[in-house]
Amino acid sequence: MATPVRNTPLVTPERLGVLLLLIVAYGVIPVIGTGYLFDAILTPFLALSLAAVGLNILTGYAGQVSLGSAAFLAVGAFAAFNFNLRVPGLPFVVSIVLAGLTAAAIGIVFGLPSLRLRGFYLAVSTLAAQFFVQWALTKFSWFSNDNPSGVIDAPPLTLAGFAFTGPIGRYLFSLTIVVVITFAVTRLIRSQTGRNFVAVRDHETAARVIGVPVLGTKLVAFGISSFIIGVAGVLWAFAYLRTVETGGFNIDRSFQILFIIIIGGLASLRGAFLGAAFIVVFPLILSRTGAALFGGVFDSGVLEMSQRIGIGALIILFLILEPRGLSALVDRVWDWVRPRRAAALGGATPRSFFIRKLQPKGRT
């Protein structure tokens, strides 16, 4: 066929990189890592990355901003807890899938306003999910098995008959789920449905004229996104914290996830991981260096407040220097190392709500 259909070779630098990462993640890190690395860094990183992948489908690819991600984390966690508790003999992996489906169903319901609203209106509307879910999970103690303190505890983590215990086990459990879902998502975004997302985001009217089912596409985006965030909630609650209350799924968490995909790069899966790494690791570095340098001079309150200021200022600086996120930054560095690399796949500059308002003279 002489058509210019993308005839990617079997081995590309990108695929090699991913393969290398997987080898390191499965083969090297478990051997050399410490409990601190797994329980305090990698497991939360994986859970947040997965949540960011989920939100990125909705916000980055399909262009629908959501401030209610934490609600779907909570739905996933509480649903998995209840399926596991109330259906004896149900394999844990089935509980996880059912939890994701529950989150998806609720996500679709709260996605309905997207059929009418856009931009900040939609963003603020999704707060309804945030407040409603938190309220409902607190209000009806059935969800937490009538625990007087309203908390749920992690069931044993098993996949296909294999029990994951200890820091390394929980890490591998999270890693496996994240890898499987991320792989499915890479397929999704290259499919017709993935193109539909971008089409709806970039030019809704044109998409409708062409015959893209706009309303359906939006709801599918909400559904898939909520599914993934729900599964991320299972990881967050059971692989990472292990005993959780609804209070942990508050609006700050939603902002954190949105922040991850923006700092990482909208419409970039790599960005979701880079952003999550940034959010998890960067404050630690800042706080540790601050303590090491100034610990003797200022009291810890002053130090912490200065760090808060520092983080805020860096966010702003970062947005000014590279508004397209860490992913674009990596591209730029890569281009600099290896010039004349072909343009990347997928969506680079989302439109409407996401693009610049006044056309700049410089690059787009």
Binding site: V124, R308, I311, L319, L358
Partner: protein, 296 residues
């Protein structure tokens, strides 16, 4: 037997609370109208203003002196925000600016606590807060005062935007940024002024809310009360903020009292959003025909 007197009391209480929401919403509207950004830092600006004011008063500065000084600080803040954040981000998409205001809120909160400490403060504006009864309906004196302040602030802004050159520029920018640029309006100056105005609103709202809640970190959370008001009234309509605030206040209280018991109470947190959304489903153009709803 339906208790009309109680209903009336809840309704009036709701309307008066609603005015307080409007006051917070107003700060959002000013900035959204001219730069299309939901300024998440509005809450921390409110906290910062109230904290600065109360700290000055506690250090012996007289009331009006502290008010003037805080006003000055808010002006500086407005100008600084324009210089350091808006100008470099001028052509960026709204969502990026939104995240920048999130970063800004970190900075402001950090600076506020670094400067003035983490202690909570009481704030006494010297307004008696004992209730009085009108035909058996209880009305709060303080709420009436707050409503009056909010009302005059809105009136002042309306007059300002109608009858001054800057106001004209503001409306031009709000209308069409390209056109405003084309006729030579200096966008940065308009932005600086608008952020300053939002700072003033933050100060007034901070004082009124601070007198109610005390001046403490949670003061920044009052923005959550303003968001459904914005959805209902429109992000870009001052009138919408006022009417939306009244409506949300009243609906919130009435639904909590009359519908809440069927769900075990505590529905105020989300009822306002659901009502605002329901309204938009029926009437997509919103209260005052805001743009951005439905297709652009």
């Amino acid at each position: 037997m339906f208790d009309y007197q109680f209903f009336l009391e809840v309704l009036i209480g709701g309307l008066l609370s609603g005015i307080m929401y409007s006051l917070v919403a107003l700060g959002f509207v000013l900035i959204y109208k001219t730069s299309g950004v939901l300024n998440f830092a509005q809450g921390s600006m409110l906290l910062f203003a109230a904290l600065t004011f109360v700290s000055l008063v506690e250090r012996g500065v007289p009331f009006w002196g502290a008010f003037a000084a805080t006003l000055g600080v808010m002006v500086l803040l407005g100008v600084a925000v324009e210089r350091t954040i808006l100008r470099p981000l001028v052509n960026q998409p709204p969502i990026t600016l939104f995240m920048a205001t999130l970063g800004l809120s970190y900075v402001i909160e950090g600076v506020a606590q670094l400067l003035w400490g983490t202690q909570v403060h009481g704030l006494d504006l010297g307004i008696e807060d004992s209730p009085f009864e009108v035909y058996g309906v209880l009305i709060s004196q303080f709420d009436l005062f707050a409503a009056a302040v909010a009302g005059s602030l809105v009136a002042a802004f309306s007059l300002f935007f109608r009858y001054t050159r800057i106001g004209l520029a503001f409306r031009a920018v709000a209308d069409d940024q390209y056109a405003a640029l084309a006729v030579g309006l200096r966008l940065p100056r308009v932005w600086a002024i608008v952020w300053t105005a939002a700072g003033v609103v933050a100060l007034v709202a901070g004082l009124l809310w601070g007198a109610r809640l005390g001046v403490q970190f949670s003061l920044s959370l009052v923005v959550l009360k303003a968001l459904p008001v914005l959805v209902l009234g429109g992000f870009d309509s001052i009138a919408g903020a006022i009417v939306g605030g009244l409506l949300i206040g009243a609906i919130e209280k009435l639904s909590e009292v009359y519908i809440g018991p069927y769900f075990g109470g505590g529905i105020e947190g989300w009822a306002a959003y659901v009502v605002a959304l329901g309204f938009l489903l029926i009437r997509p153009a919103g209260l005052f025909g805001q743009k951005l709803v439905e297709r652009a």
